[in-house]
């Protein structure tokens, strides 16, 4: 019986359910010290004086370091603007000023309180638009005497622009001319944060040879290894990363953060292993957020319902330092250019330095923000031309074989099927009309129901943004038919380990219990770029399959002469070598493996495979078929709005997902349910309250994650489009389910109340205000504020 499509429990679930799993927090190395970080008390200030004398004198303290103690430190991050220990000024309340290594965490934190810091306050800039104005204070002012070409973290820069992106296909002016309806709105997307249940932590140790061992929660171990080596001036071969099981990732661990580098500095300074674990408050304060986006979208269509153009300008508050949040435009422009058929599109965005906390990568990576805007406009345009919103979407949804303006090739495509199925199963069309009628007839009703639909497009076969988007696998079978699958792909709780084992076992005709997966040590595993872009099932899956197929071919080639058959006539099934067709069992696999091993021409079955997806790098205009496959989903959200309080209850989410092929049905459902509830939080309950550069709610009491009684009923369907390149036809889904919930919810609230809200979150007070016209309107992104494309 096939394993594909079955409900397969996660391989590591029993251990986790028993509380036996050792996360980084649970690991203690002999002789280890505990570290704690002193963060800035000010938003923007000159560091006049740091005096650690009393801290150093505290019994149990082994080291206190500041920037002065690590003159060789280099700036980290994609824009190299981020020194781990801040030198002469602090630019945000996250800024790391000093760090302590001590015998215990309690002593380390006590020592922090003994470090004296004298600040000289500087003007605070927390508005990205203001930061673009001429004469605005510079977040990274140029440093006199710097070498040309030196990174921003060392040399500063003469403006507040961290990054800019400009994209276009077709001719937007032509598109506007072709339009019968044009809508323009400004959307404001807020700060939220990952809230992984396991807080950030790291252990750093230098061994007797001076090699660095890091116990890290990183989602990109090989990139991490290379970057650490670079920052420490070490040979990358002498850096080893071990990944303990992680208490949640969701994209929060794709970058290098100061705390890890600081732990390494302390390990170097003390000659002891150093363990650094955040408090939850620190996790809220110091972890990167989702990228907040201020977005003006102009969309057009003809009166017979064809989309004509999209014109987008956005400003991203980059915060004080650049992390992956600044690169969300890569993903956003894919959505703007290619979600539905759009002949003309342009997109301009600027990431602007401010003194706010910086954003990183977070499940969906800009797609939630872009979809929120696009899908509201789809409803608005449909209404303007008097067309049913589902029909309008179906009219513009792409089909198999289409190539978008950005060059994405849709080799497998279940877009229309997703829309149709989600609408059908939810009763969308009839309910939408009924709720709209209720709205008209019973304006004073306290509880109003509404239903809304939104679709999404995301990469489903990796994303070729690094020189390689590949993954390596090493496979071995032992004398007993037990398989060790050594993969570069990390497990971040999403179940990749189980899916890879499933693919291999399917190929080799073995039960899941026959596989051990090794995936967490860069000294052992082959290279993988990392867990991001929903790529792991697709790319690591194909890699594992490649190695498994080689192993199978080797086994059958060895078996064939023993049974007077051709290798092509044989198969592996039920732990045996069998004849195809009849299914006759010829020998059990372990016996065959032993006979291969214990003979004159001894052979072990060990294979390797590196899978590089056939995608391409984008050109300088961001065009290109950047993924090996693309995935779609449509979600219908039904809500009930309490007009007396503004509370929005999410009653039901009906989703249809183009997954290519269902591999582990249990794991897939779990990913989607979790993503839906994450989307629910983004839409309704979560808000990181950043005011004047400070986070006012760094705790679970006031940052509200969705709790169990609040979840909607969830109806999830899968569309199997059998992608030709995907492993067994599967595509990636890790990010998809979170992406269109907020958009569908906005449409549902509009259906229920007649009020369209273009800013998140839909928390009770904001919805209450919106219903009474008391929500401050969003301000259009000033096109004039976006400076001319900077000279290279």
């Amino acid at each position: 019986m096939t394993l594909i499509g079955q409900r397969i429990p996660k391989i590591d679930a029993p251990e986790k359910a028993a509380g036996k799993t050792r996360y980084v927090h649970d690991i203690d190395l002999p002789g280890q010290l505990h570290a704690a970080i002193l963060r800035s008390a000010r938003v923007h200030a000159r560091l006049v004086r740091i005096d650690a004398t009393r801290a150093r004198a505290l019994p149990g303290v082994h080291a206190v370091i500041t920037a002065a103690d690590v003159p060789d430190q280099r700036p980290i991050g994609v824009a190299k603007d981020h020194l781990p220990l801040k030198r002469d000024r602090v630019r945000s309340t996250r800024d790391e000023i000093a760090a302590v290594a001590a015998e215990s965490e309690a002593i380390a934190r006590e020592a922090l309180a003994l470090i004296e810091v004298e600040y000289e306050d500087l003007p605070v800039l927390t508005d990205a638009v203001a930061a673009l104005e001429p004469g605005a204070p510079l977040v990274h002012p140029p440093i006199a005497g710097s070498k040309a070409g030196a990174p921003v973290g060392v040399a500063g820069k003469s403006d507040n622009i961290a990054m800019r992106f400009d994209y276009g296909h077709g001719d937007v002016a032509q598109g506007e001319a072709d339009s019968d309806v044009v809508v323009e709105d400004t959307f404001a997307l807020h700060y939220v944060t990952h809230c992984c249940m396991g807080v950030s932590g790291v252990i750093a140790e230098f061994d007797a040879k001076g090699n660095l061992l890091l116990y890290s929660n990183t989602q990109v171990p090989f990139l991490h290894k290379r970057e650490f080596a670079e920052y420490l001036g070490m040979d990358p071969g002498r850096v080893r990363i071990i990944q303990p099981p992680i208490g949640g990732g969701f994209g929060s661990k794709l970058d290098i953060y100061p705390f890890e580098v600081i732990a390494v500095f302390l390990a170097r300074a003390t000659g002891r292993p150093v363990k650094l674990v955040f408090t939850r408050e620190e996790e809220f304060l110091a972890s990167p957020t989702r990228q907040p986006v201020h977005l003006t979208l102009r969309s057009g269509c003809t009166k017979d319902g064809r989309l004509t153009f999209r014109s987008v300008r956005t400003i991203h508050d980059n915060g004080a330092y650049t992390s992956w949040g600044a690169t969300t435009p890569f993903v956003m422009m894919q959505t703007f250019s290619s979600l539905y058929r759009v002949p003309h599109c342009d997109y301009h965005t600027v990431a602007v330095y401010t003194h706010n906390p910086y954003a990183g990568s977070f499940r969906g990576y800009g797609n939630l923000q872009a979809t929120f805007a696009i899908e509201q406009h789809m409803d608005q345009m449909a209404e303007a031309i008097g067309m049913d919103p589902l029909e309008f979407r179906l009219k513009n949804a792409q089909e198999v074989g289409e190539v978008t303006g950005q060059g994405m090739v849709f080799r497998s495509c279940g877009f229309k099927e997703c829309l149709t199925l989600a609408a059908e199963r939810s009763g969308y069309t009839a309910k939408r009309r009924a709720y709209a009628a209720d709205r008209e007839h019973d304006r004073d009703a306290r509880f109003k129901r509404g239903i809304g639909i939104a679709a999404m497009l995301h990469v489903g076969g990796g994303a070729k943004i690094y020189p390689s988007d590949g993954c390596g696998t090493i496979l071995k079978l032992d004398d007993f038919g037990h398989v060790t699958l050594i993969t570069g792909a990390s497990e971040i709780g999403q179940g990749s380990e189980t899916v890879l084992a499933q693919l291999v076992c399917e190929e080799l005709g073995l039960p899941i219990s026959a596989v051990t997966v090794v995936n967490n040590d860069t000294d052992i595993t082959p290279w993988d770029v990392g867990v991001h872009a929903s790529r792991t099932t697709f790319i690591a899956g194909n890699s594992a399959l490649g190695a498994a197929r080689k192993a199978k071919a080797k086994i059958l080639a060895a078996a064939a002469p023993r049974f007077d058959a051709q290798a092509d006539d044989l198969d592996l099934s039920g732990g045996c070598v069998v004849r195809k067709g009849s299914g006759e069992r010829l020998t059990d696999l372990p016996r065959l493996l032993r006979s291969l091993h214990f003979n004159d021409r001894a052979e072990l079955v060990m294979t390797t495979f590196y899978y590089e997806p056939p995608s391409v790098h984008q050109d300088k205009g961001y065009k290109g078929d950047v993924s090996a496959a693309y995935a779609w989903a449509a979600q219908v959200v039904e809500v009930e709005v309490d007009t007396a309080t503004g509370i929005v209850r999410m009653l039901q989410v009906t989703g249809a997902h183009d997954v290519g092929r269902v591999l582990n049905r249990l794991g897939l459902e779990g990913q989607i349910e979790g993503g839906i509830v994450m989307g629910q939080g983004y839409a309704l309950t979560e808000n990181l309250d950043v005011v004047d550069g400070r986070i006012r709610n760094p705790n679970f009491r006031d940052y509200k994650l969705v709790t169990a009684p609040e979840i909607p009923a969830m109806d999830i369907s899968f569309i199997e489009t059998m992608d030709g390149e995907g492993p067994q036809g599967a595509k990636g889904v890790g990010e998809a389910p979170a992406i269109c919930i907020a958009a569908a919810t906005a449409n549902a609230i509009a259906n229920a109340t007649g009020v369209r809200i273009t800013s998140l979150p839909f928390t009770p007070e904001r919805v209450y205000r919106a219903l009474r016209g008391a929500l401050p309107p969003t301000q259009p992104v000033p096109l004039a504020a976006l400076p001319e494309k900077a000279a290279a």
Partner: protein
């Protein structure tokens, strides 16, 4: 130097003694003094449920409890669920129903769900959700945890029917 208190308590059925700083939480004691890392630090403020343990038959947040207050009490942690029929049924059901992803919230969920089943042998989904309202999960969206709790209740029923 912090004042230290000598206490005696049973931990997962075994009597033991400890000497703990007066300000130490039960959570820290369990993890660092007793070496049981199954109970997790999630927030330190009783808002997330990751540190849930059972004390004298009732669940509470060990991060909010003073270690000194463990004196004379019967404490059960996730490690003690190995010998508990409800705990076993829940762990099996959680595995089978996909209720575990990153697993960080899982020990607290098992502890809290076991408390529910001790009180209510036939919870419906709504009762299960209310019971874990103080246990946050970021990965699963709770649905499969609720499924697992209800399935465990049914499995226990079948056991008792025999």
């Amino acid at each position: 130097m912090s004042l230290e208190i000598e206490i005696g308590f049973t931990l997962n059925g075994v009597a033991r003694r400890a000497k703990v700083p007066v300000g130490m939480s039960a959570l820290t004691m369990l993890r660092e003094v007793c070496g049981l890392t199954g109970t997790k630090y999630g927030c330190g403020e009783g808002e997330c449920g990751a540190c849930t343990i059972r004390v004298d038959g009732k669940t509470l947040a060990s991060c909010l409890m003073f270690a000194a207050d463990c004196d004379g009490r019967a404490i059960v942690t996730i490690e003690g669920m190995a010998g508990d029929p409800r705990g076993q049924a829940l762990q099996r059901a959680f595995v089978e129903h996909g209720a575990v992803q990153c697993g960080f919230c899982t020990p607290g969920m098992v502890m809290q769900a076991a408390e529910l089943l001790a009180r209510d042998a036939h919870p419906d989904a709504a009762a299960a959700k209310r019971a874990i309202e103080g246990n946050l999960c970021r990965c699963t969206g709770y649905q499969k945890i609720v499924d697992g709790i209800c399935a465990a209740a049914q499995a226990l029923d079948k056991e008792h029917a025999r």
